[in-house]
Symmetry: C2
């Protein structure tokens, strides 16, 4: 864990320039707007170590699979997030010497991510090797209200010289991915050239023919006054640049505003990209930097008004939770059902393909509770659009008749992953996708979604499960062989309780939904029946499986069994591990990890979390007491689920301790890997720990429940919930809980099990319970 950032309620602040930390800070200070994202690379040339990253949502590259030993069923390609046209670049020369922070004396370096207003700011002084000193200030953001707009303000002040400062803003499409499997260049030239007072570059991916266009127009000021001087343009293949040469005297400050439009063939006809970008850049240049920044601040104010969490008495926690919310909204805003949430968002290349079950398991609840339900709906539609691909994927593995297996990792619905024990076996992901439909409906009450796409998805997943179980003559039970549960520290196990349970749950829920749709919309049901060739007969098998399924338990201990052989392992707890063995994934061989009883992330307990309402508290407690001590939480997705459950069980110290492991994971770089990008999806888990954990928020049958506790370390906290047409603010103070209805009509909800009616203007106060210990 490293504390190199300054704590602040609304800002992430780094002071002092440390080249060894450059990659990490590039991740942490990333900016995005759900449609594009940009690592905190420097605008000016930088010869030091860096991971350049400019990403455009939905644009990817099918990189040829890298594999040691091929297995039938593996995909040919891994869809990679692509580093795209560099649009932030502004090279600077001072009296002919290039400004390069790796090669000059840097002072007063300060980098600030302003989360309240949504921009990145940097300042420093630099003494070049010719003795010239400059002071630099830059600001940039990608616009939340204009998806295709990014803008940079870059100022250089001459501190001790008279002379010339050259500004060379550019767009460079000749860029690469550092994680390309075979050092392949992903981009090819399409076009580049000039507008009346700007320039553009259009490149395309060498496969799939995605086109990306970037255009720029710039404006200069000198000491705050517009400066109209000539500039030279330079056009090379895949690159355009502009060169301004400004004469300065000591203390003159020259500012460049760079207005950039970035658009892709995802949203525009290829041939329209050029005129579109020409017009867009003209518009935003007309508006000007200040107006765009004002818009940006207003947009973020709206978001914070809807989903801010305030924590009092613990500024680090406050900064951490806001950072997580901020990054989630920078990654996904939910207005395009073709997009999704990659584990690293727009902050790094690693893990390539964008969508894992993290979306359904972790991110969906966040968006369900913090914004309009249309956002969560788009996340469901994303999977619905991929249904045929999921059916093809299952077919490739040998399944039939419209069974669907959703991919482990995907961009366009095709599987990207190639590791048999995950690709073929970590199939519980299919369950999470079914569960998301249920989760969405229980929050929103939008049962119509079943008719639109939900039922088709559920049918196809249930079909998969019914084929994936097989009947064991020996046991006279249905078993599920060869799976990997959420605990990836065990592979290819038999009868993983979680997977079998969620499979059964899916079939049960699908049966219910079939009845519902058949009854409520018989015509639509007939359409679905025809389209899917569904027959009543096939549900008989599902019912038989539900009747005769084998779900492993250890009755003597009153627990569900993670998998058939779990209790054959030597039983130890994480507290038996030496400090220098942890994390075991960095200190133990894979062989040793696999045969140990240690659990990477909740497995039985993931099931208890999803299906809490199907188990009594004693059962949950016994399973928690057994499994949590065996869990090493070496997935960023692990502590949050356990923290929520610990809160529920009244283990408030444990809940807080687990919360701490997730809250500032990236800010404090717990896992020493933030240089590769942020853990975007696990950020939603932190939100869960607060709202569902400490806040005890639940939604069931359209009703809201709260049972807040107040962690000892906090003076008070509050969070907001969007529920159907309502927005509630829940404030938890020592000895009392206040709930305000900020939007919508009056609503009833349960606090500590008792029902209350809350109306706008009439906050509810419930006294007594909140202190944790």
């Amino acid at each position: 864990m490293e504390k190199f950032l300054i704590t602040d309620q609304w800002k992430i602040i780094e002071e002092g320039f440390d080249p060894a930390r450059q990659r990490s800070s590039e991740s942490i200070f990333s900016i995005g707007n759900g449609h594009m994202g940009q690592r905190a690379n420097f605008e000016e040339y930088y010869s030091g170590d860096s991971l350049q990253g400019s990403y455009v949502a939905g644009i990817y590259y099918p990189d040829k699979t890298k594999v040691g030993w091929w297995k039938n069923g593996y995909p040919e390609y891994f869809a990679k997030v692509v580093n795209s046209i560099n649009w932030i670049g502004i090279d600077i020369r001072v009296n002919g010497v290039q400004l390069d922070l790796a090669k000059c004396d840097v002072g007063n370096f300060r980098r600030v991510l302003n989360m309240k207003k949504g921009y990145l700011q940097r300042q420093f002084t630099a003494e070049l090797n010719n003795g010239d000193k400059v002071q630099v200030q830059s600001q940039r953001f990608v616009s939340m209200s204009r998806n295709e707009v990014g803008t940079v303000s870059y100022s250089v002040k001459a501190l001790n010289f008279d002379g010339t400062i050259e500004f060379c803003p550019y767009l460079n499409g000749d860029v690469r991915n550092q994680d390309a499997n075979y050092d392949e260049m992903f981009w090819a030239e399409v076009d580049q050239g000039l507008f009346s007072d700007g320039a553009f570059v259009i490149t395309k991916t060498k496969k799939l023919d995605f086109h990306v266009a970037a255009g720029m127009r710039c404006a200069l000021t000198k000491n705050g006054q517009p400066l109209d001087i000539d500039s030279d343009f330079n056009v090379e293949p895949m690159k355009v640049s502009q060169q301004y040469s400004v004469t300065v005297k000591t203390n003159d400050e020259i500012s460049l505003h760079k207005y950039v439009g970035i658009a892709s063939s995802l949203n525009h006809e290829r041939k329209r990209l050029h005129p579109y970008i020409e017009q867009l850049t003209a518009e935003i240049k007309d508006l000007g930097f200040a107006a765009l920044q004002q818009e940006q601040a207003e947009e973020w104010a709206d978001i914070w008004n809807q989903c801010d969490i305030r924590i009092e008495g613990d500024e680090e926690a406050q900064q951490g939770i806001r950072f997580n919310i901020f990054q989630l909204y920078q990654t996904y805003t939910g207005d395009d059902e073709r997009l999704n949430i990659g584990p690293k968002g727009f902050t790094g290349e690693k893990y390539g393909g964008s969508t894992y079950w993290d979306t359904e398991g972790y991110c969906l609840p966040f968006y369900l509770n913090t914004t309009d339900s249309r956002v969560a709906r788009n996340l469901l539609l994303y999977r619905y659009r991929h249904l045929q691909k999921a059916i093809q994927n299952a077919k490739k593995l040998g399944f039939s008749d419209g069974a669907a297996l959703y991919p482990m990792v995907t961009m366009n619905g095709e599987e990207c992953h190639n590791e048999w024990e995950i690709t073929f076996e970590e199939i519980h992901r299919n369950g999470a996708i079914a569960y998301a439909i249920y989760n969405y409906i229980r929050h929103t009450g939008d049962e119509d979604y079943l008719k639109e796409g939900g039922l088709e998805v559920l049918l196809a997943i249930s079909r998969f499960w019914s084929q994936r179980f097989n009947f064991s003559e020996k046991r006279q039970k249905y078993v599920m062989l060869g799976v990997t549960g959420p605990n990836e520290y065990e592979n290819n196990v038999h009868n993983n309780w979680y997977t079998s349970y969620i499979a059964c749950w899916t079939m049960r829920y699908t049966l219910e939904c079939i009845d519902k749709v058949e009854e409520e919309a018989p015509e639509r049901f007939d359409e679905i029946r025809q389209k899917t060739e569904y027959t009543d007969a096939e549900t008989e098998l599902w019912k038989d499986i539900l009747k005769r399924v084998y779900l492993p338990e250890e009755k003597s201990q009153g627990i569900f069994l993670q998998q058939d052989g779990y209790l054959d392992k030597v039983q130890r707890t994480a507290s038996d591990l030496e400090e220098n063995e942890r994390p075991i994934n960095q200190h133990w061989s894979w062989d040793r990890i696999l045969r140990s009883c240690f659990i990477k992330q909740g497995d039985v307990l993931q099931g208890m979390y999803f299906f809490e309402h199907e188990f009594d508290e004693d059962t949950i407690r016994r399973n928690f007491d057994f499994y949590e001590p065996r869990t090493v939480h070496e997935s960023s997705l692990s502590p949050c689920i356990h923290s929520v459950m610990a809160s529920k069980l009244g283990y408030s110290d444990k809940a807080y301790q687990l919360y701490l492991r997730t809250a500032r994971l990236d800010l404090d770089d717990y896992n020493k890997e933030v240089d590769q990008g942020l853990h975007i999806t696990s950020m939603a888990g932190t939100w869960m720990s607060v709202v569902e954990g400490f806040g005890g928020k639940r939604a069931r049958n359209g009703k809201l429940y709260f049972s807040p506790i107040l962690p000892d370390h906090w003076d008070a906290y509050s969070f907001k919930i969007v529920h159907q047409n309502h927005r509630l603010k829940v404030s938890v103070e020592p000895n009392q809980v206040n709930i305000t209805c900020e939007r919508g009509e009056s609503i009833s909800c349960y606090v500590y099990g008792k029902e209350y009616e809350i109306s706008p203007g009439h906050p509810l106060t419930v006294s007594g319970k909140p202190v944790a210990s």
Copy 2:
């Protein structure tokens, strides 16, 4: 299956030139002498598709591991068999036109591998695009009596022209491996230059600094008469060539003899390679081609006299078995304990590293029965030399105190393989290495080997097993979790019967050997005790494991259980599969294969084969009857073991049918992959099917047993057995078996269970039993 070869008792013959088959024929017509090997690439330039392969035993390259998803414990490198200096090359120009079989009219093409005398012959006519016709004859071999010598005779006859023929023999070290993981060049320049009348090239591997030197001297004849003309030498980096320009008239035939020496730093000081190769080539040139060929024929006559198998009434079978014996002796001759037997020998690059458990499981019995016991002993010493590496390997995985895990694939004792379910889990290989010691001693009676190295190896392997079992509190038994048995169509299973059985057997055998060595050589035992830090106390754990081990069985069916979950699978037999589904490894996804009950190669039955003497025939029969029908024999190592067992159980049709699947595997290219190289190690399995299977040969407590059957399709057959100081010839005819003692004193052996004494000059004839049905 493809029949493109002509059947012959002693020769492999191909007629007609088919470029599409070039790679396959290059494999089949490979030559070798245990120290080097050469694919049947053409001497003259060939622009068509080809896999160039000149291999030097013991020279390898650590190629950077290629892996999709890294797991702790994986090796950094995969040791690759290296394509080394091309020494056969002779470019030909006829009146200035290059001879290239891909670019001329080829007629009367015939390629012959003479197995009786050990050489490769080729002839063809070619009409070049200028109309000139030539007839070409070539012969080549690598000398069995001179490890470092190869020689080529290459004749060109002018059929329809007067003019000039240029001969350009060369040595070219600028060569690559086609299977290099990252297209890396493995070789670097060391030196090249001229002798008085020859030339040399020395190259070295870029890693590990292996040096390989090749030298050549040539001689010409014209119509059989020595032709002394000037030639030009050309020296380039890594390449030397010589150019003869010969004036010919129609019907003149020019022959070039190329005498090549190839030596490596494995056997010579680096700086001595140059003078050594200079002298060696002078010597062999003095001797001349005919004399070298005579030596070669004599050497092969000796080998055939020792180990030939004759089959009467089935010429294809005769050709097949001789091909297998021939290739085995071309691959490994057993005079250097640093060498071993790669799955593809010197016939291809694939599978890289040279040693798998194939050596102990399949090849050792072949060499134990067909040649001096020193050869088998060298195979054991190879592993003894690698013991410290095996201990390091186990340590890397988390084992301690001198436990050894031998690698799955290796060149120098270090693990090369990187596929967790194999590398970390297919640990039964360790058992085969222990079993080889037992097998060697039961054949040779050489118990001294235990003192020399055997006991240390056994101790280290038993230590591994004792740590690899763990005590299950739940079962109150020792279990072995997370292993892959010989059946690689199931991975990461628990309590694989074969692995657990061979583990227990190892510990039992080690305990016996400890007692034996302690009693017979107490001083040596004390040395071993000190060196290994062995204490009596640790055997207590072994004994406890032997007492309380869990070995899965299915009592209701009287069978051992392949692994815990095997009977939870849907039970089918291979006969239920459609023709178009087989082999399943080409038609099914890996997911489907893993979850099916189908067995790739004997697993429980591999144990029955090794430990036949520990089970009664009914037990073996019940297990065979259960498992064989579920076995798809998709490993080249599978049918032979089952054929041996079927013979034993009196299932002679089954035995013959399984034998057929192995006998001509490569000649008829059953698996459509002979282009990549021959299945050298499985060739020993074919030998087993005949000698141990049909011949019913066994060795037990120093005694020999035979129970021959005669397959319906054969008129008669005979084989030879080297046993201690004896050589026996066993001839099986309808209704009688003849056994002749060809070498050594009189010996007693059992035929159909009855003991006989056989003396030299007094063949034994036993009547009555041999007909199979």
